[in-house]
Symmetry: C2
Subunit: 338 residues, 2 copies
DNA sequence: TGACCACATTGAATCGATTCATAACGCGTC
DNA sequence: GACGCGTTATGAATCGATTCAATGTGGTCA
């Protein structure tokens, strides 16, 4: 095996088939302009040499290509997995290809992938921003690359966005817990630099205020990592406290999963001793030891819609879509029938 | 906003800074060879023009880059999500970047992404093959691109691979059910063209044969899609049958999730009426309504190890690693204490 | 027979960054 | 002032596919 032989190029194919490079390129891109005989000859040469187009050269000449990038906060979160699938399905319908990356909620990683995508000449990027500012995204757009904010309302008119009303979601969950008679509610949340977290908190506080409660007194916020382990540490912290809340609202279902596990191990009954509400309504939410009340978001549609905007192109007017979340009540938050 | 202005190039920067293109390139790639004064001047020009390198041109000249591709069967399956994370962590340690794609178990999609990656000039690809043959992957390797088989033992010595012993996994699950006294076992499986499915079946049959049973009589195989809905349809089919098995082995935990849901709705108790075993031991397996017995695979390590082999390069001798799975027994397969 | 047209094919210019042989420069030494 | 050495900077050649004006080849029709 020759380790470092030059990749076979279009010129090699041309030589082999006894035609010019232009003709080979035509076979590849506009087969109808080439006579059947030569086309066959070229195709044979391609097969014999097992030639693969050099995408870099192709793209260098042709400009942008049919690839778009997506940067989500965390691919291992089922919420983003489903959003991604929605994007992908819409894109493949138009023969576009998707490159996905996970920022892990770190602005540096977001910036790094953004640059990588831009250097690769993607048509556009769909980004769940990690930070408060989107200036870096505006800069990308200035350079002619489409930008759609994913799961994030746009702070400026000119940038399209697809979001879900997280303030409403937070309020739905909290109001429900209030309706069940809870007066002290814990909120296992992520850092407020993550917009989704900040908004859901805002919603929770509004629901409390609307009910005539003092949010500062009634809501105990615990900041945790946004996965099952985060739920575990959050609950541990709560269990040690003197004044244990009777209800826990988790900022996503993974956290709720960890919370449920930890409560069960500690011998605390859900929902009898503690009511639990999650967020996202992931596949397994209904099937847990205690079926989980959760706030459902249109994950798939979120992605599909964003992809749709992306495909409209840079010239189309910006659009701003905000979906409404929906509370799905299950056993984890409702007192069991005796 | 100028919609279709040419991207600013290294020549623009050079002009602005009053230097040659070679110098700009040096600032970008070997800053130490440039005097501090000119470097500053060039950097200023880069900032003012908000210049972003054209990756295609860069790569066209330089050859391969530090990107590798991975093609898994289904990113929305938590098993593959975790494998991907393992890969990513290992790669970022060496400053490599990962592009992930999902073949959805379709050979055409696998081939399409493979070509896309190759055209983009990736250093290598890590693939969970969809079909029986890996000839297309050998061809890719002939062209100087690293290939590592993911979750698939290599049929040839020359190609590195990382796998888990699925025959053993199938046997572990089945033996366990036999030990619990079950004599008629259903297997909700995928098509046999998927190696993992074929192997787990093989393992199940061996376990039966070892126990002196006739696999054809004792095992009822139902072919289903590999997600929660698949579990649902599979169980529906079984419930309609006259001779209902007393145990169900599901080829993965998503299928088991759907199975559990459907059994519960049909009023069939797990494990009292039907024992259930899954595969993968995903995060939520322990927290389901009935905690799920499952076969655990070292997902993260699987990915990390594959990435490791990839980084060793094409010249290093091929390696073949086969991890051993492990049965995690929980309530779904063990008769409840009275 | 010659004019004209449709169709096929050619080959050189082009995209933008990198590389490297060469030139320019600064500075100390004899 | 000539020489040599080390440091910087230059610019043309290069990577491989695409594009398009120009050329070539028949074929049809007056």
């Amino acid at each position: 095996m020759s380790p470092r032989t030059r990749r076979t190029s279009i010129a090699d194919v041309a030589r082999r088939a006894g035609v010019s490079v232009g003709t080979v390129s035509n076979v590849l891109n506009r087969p109808d302009r080439v006579s059947p005989t030569t086309r066959e000859r070229v195709e044979a040469a391609i097969a014999e040499l097992s030639f693969v187009r050099n995408g870099s050269a192709r793209q260098l000449r042709a400009g942008r290509i049919t690839t778009v990038g997506a940067i989500v906060l965390d691919i291992s979160n089922p919420f983003f997995t489903d959003v991604t699938r929605g994007i992908e399905e819409r894109l493949t319908a138009d023969d576009y290809t998707l490159m996905v990356a996970s920022s892990d909620r770190e602005p540096e990683r977001e910036a790094r992938y953004l640059r990588l995508f831009e250097e690769h000449g993607v048509r556009g990027v769909m980004v769940v921003p990690t930070g408060e500012s989107i200036d870096h995204l505006l800069a990308v757009r200035e350079r002619g690359i489409g930008v759609v904010l994913l799961d994030h309302p746009s702070p400026v008119d000119s940038v399209s966005s697809v979001a879900v009303d997280d303030v409403l979601g937070g309020a739905l969950a909290t109001r429900h817990l209030l309706d069940q008679g809870h007066t002290r509610i814990a909120f296992l949340n992520g850092t407020h630099s993550i917009r989704q977290c900040a908004d859901r908190l805002e919603g929770a506080r509004r629901a409390l205020a609307d009910a005539g409660r003092d949010p500062d007194a009634a809501l105990v916020e615990v900041t945790v990592p946004l996965d099952a382990n985060g739920g575990e540490t959050g609950i541990r912290a709560l269990l040690e406290a003197d004044d244990r809340p009777t209800a826990v609202f988790c900022v996503n279902d993974l956290v709720a999963l960890g919370a449920l596990r930890t409560l069960r191990r500690a011998g605390v009954s859900v929902p009898d001793d503690v009511a639990l509400v999650g967020y996202d309504d992931v596949t397994f939410a209904a099937e847990l030891a205690t079926p989980l009340t959760s706030v459902r978001q249109p994950r798939h549609e979120l992605g599909a819609r964003a992809a749709d905007m992306m495909l409209r192109g840079t010239d189309a007017p910006a659009e701003h879509v905000v979906f409404k979340p929906e509370l799905v009540v299950r056993e984890s938050s409702t007192t069991r029938a005796p």
